[in-house]
């Protein structure tokens, strides 16, 4: 048995060593990446100057046409991330400030994402390679239930989120394979119209969202003009009073839910197509710039 205990101990040590080694390897690779997604594009960047920075979920990513801002002479970038929540939007803005970005205006899409304070696993995981090298990221994750595992167990974060930061993604970073996320100023245009579309927001309840509060505070501290907007839904949406409820909590959010009301401008119920996005962005530019 003594021999076996020795053998098992060696296996355990080997496992720990391999985990630590792989952790270092993956992290080093991610620290070199800057063309895979919006998070590494910000994390590994030097100071940038923007007139307009757009934050939010896919309803920001697919709805704000960066090119139209540029045509108006405004330097803009759409940092909206499909599937993202305000947890990630807030952290991304914090990173921008830490990297001394000069930002005049932040447009934040704050509608459906006001209903929760949870992190969006697929997006939040993209910050995790930097958790040991950034106190900001460490602090932002420190209230999460699995923080200890993510922070202290070597390689655990790469195992848990293997589909977003696992071997395949690491390999693509290592070989500098770009994605199309950063094209068109970060705006991703949706095509077509799938006909039958519907959505039901009845189950969603807007809350006093701490990450939105954080974003407001950051903007105030850094003298950034914050423009919070709610973006359109298709006509066949139940529970549209959600937007009114959100406005009751946050009267400063501009309700643009009904500025595009024809379903031909929608790719799916919660996402406008390219034509719809252009209409919507033009209206935003007209009203605010």
């Amino acid at each position: 048995m003594k021999k076996f205990i020795g053998f098992a101990a060696k296996v355990l040590i080997l496992i720990l060593l391999l985990l630590a080694l792989l952790d270092v390897l993956y992290t080093v690779v991610y620290l070199q990446a800057s063309n895979r997604g919006k998070i590494d594009y910000v994390y590994n960047s030097k100071p940038r100057i923007y007139d307009v920075v757009i934050l939010g979920s896919s309803r920001a990513n697919n709805h704000f046409v960066t090119q139209l801002f540029e045509e108006k002479g405004l330097k803009a970038f759409n940092y909206g991330m499909s599937g993202g929540h305000l947890f990630e939007a807030s952290l991304l803005l914090k990173l921008m400030i830490e990297r001394k970005y000069k930002i005049q205006n932040v447009i934040i899409e704050t509608d459906l994402n006001l209903s929760n304070e949870k992190r969006a696993e697929g997006i939040a995981s993209k910050f995790l390679p930097y958790i040991h090298s950034s106190r900001l990221i460490e602090n932002h994750f420190s209230q999460e239930d699995d923080f200890s595992e993510l922070f202290y167990i070597p390689f655990y974060r790469y195992l848990k989120f293997d589909s977003s930061i696992g071997f395949r993604e690491m390999y693509k970073c290592l070989t500098f394979q770009p994605t199309n996320t950063l094209k068109n100023g970060g705006f991703y245009a949706l095509k077509g119209n799938n006909g039958k579309m519907k959505n039901n927001l009845s189950a969603l309840k807007p809350i006093q969202n701490k990450y939105y509060e954080e974003i407001k505070q950051i903007c105030a501290d850094n003298k950034i003009n914050l423009i919070a907007v709610m973006t359109p839904m298709c006509s066949n949406t139940k529970g549209l009073d959600y937007f009114k409820k959100a406005n009751k909590i946050y009267p400063e959010i501009h309700n643009y839910e009904n500025v595009v009301d024809n379903d031909k401008y929608f790719s799916s119920c919660g996402h406008m197509n390219n034509e719809g996005a252009k209409l919507f962005t033009s209206r935003i530019i007209k009203d605010f710039f």
């Binding site: 076996f4 053998f7 080997l14 496992i15 792989l22 848990k160 293997d162 589909s163 977003s164 696992g166």
Partner: protein, 477 residues
Amino acid sequence: MFFNSLSFAIFLPIVFILYWFVFNKNKSTQNSILIIASYYFYSCWDWRFLFLLVFSTFLVYYTGIQIEKAKKESVRKFWFWLTITINLGLLGVFKYYNFFSTSFSDFMNGFGLQTSPILLNVLLPVGISFYTFHGLSYVIDIYLKRIKAEYNFVDYSLFVSYFPLLVAGPIERATHLLPQVKVKRDFDFQKAKEGVFQFIWGLVKKVVIADTCATYANAIFDNHESMNSLSLVLGAVYFAFQIYGDFSGYSDMALGMSKLFGIDLLRNFNYPYFSRDIAEFWRRWHISLSSWFRDYLYIPLGGSSGGMAMKIRNTFIIFLVSGFWHGANWTFIAWGFINALYFLPLLVLKTNRSNMEMVSLRWNLNSVRVFFNILSTFALTCLAWIFFRAKSIGDAFDYIKRMFSNLSFDAQYLENERYNYELLLIIFAFVAVEWNFKNQVEPISGKNSWLKLSFCLIAIVALGTFSDYKEFIYFQF
């Protein structure tokens, strides 16, 4: 609690420590701790089904003794058929009732008699097919006077409920496992070390091969209407490796961890994809089930003794029953039928036992023929797996039709956000490793074992699929 879960990684060392350091006085204490651990392990799925397991165990234990004690043949028969009927009845109710009800209703509707099936809203108890077959083999062996009944309930319970084999086999025989649980086990370092290596290799098969293949196979099978020929061919290949990695990986983990407790289980897989014909494949795939059907169904039906017609009939029966054992769906029956069809020419030509030893290749013309046989056997197997994986027989035929009619062999981007060909490299590497070590149980033992172990551990953590977690396929059977 799956073998590849964090909770099991905590459970196993605790049981190991209790078994060897606290309850190591004699075989009774050893068996008792294993029984407690096994019942706890089983209750982690659904504690309510624990009663079913205990009931089934007690029934077979009690009737086994009654069969042995009975003086009159009629009494022996009574107890024998009572336990067979109840055990198969439970299996029938939980696993097959809804299938028969729906099939009957469909049949009546086909004749214009409108009926709607009365369905039971019950979960399938995990591992029911496996522990039922354990019990059946035991009671049949007693009835046929091949073995003596076990009078120690704890020992018998352990034979049925031993946690490494409880939910997905291998299907043990009383003649093999009971003698091992009847004696105190002493710690054997070499055996335990082999067990660790086999467990780790099983984990490689599960998380690196099976779960990764599953993401591709699912993306292809679930969208087969929009897939081109190359994707469909690869989908079948990926599923073949998914099910092999999943089930043989599970078996390796079961056999490996059992060695940690000083107990050897029956080998369940012996490199089946290196088979040169379908008969050899079935001698190497799910060996414990194939041999169960051979010993308790094929031979009692007359086996090969009654001429060609009887051989063919019996072969079809065991393949159809084997298919049905896997699940209550026509797709499994079709899968069994196809395998029986594959078997037929070998049976007629009496060549079904021509490839008994492990294959080897050399640089000569004969090896080219052998290599071709391996590839064609694998291709036939993949074709049959399409029926096993498809949601319906119609889907399976549609899949095959598109495979041979689309004739586009371009790279295709799949729903899982990967190209259809991306997994081939890892499959080739896996096949190369298995080929190289096909004469041993797992590839880690032997020379440079620490180096090979390191590679396996790196493969598990770096290449394994963890976020898109997959249950073991055979748990549903």
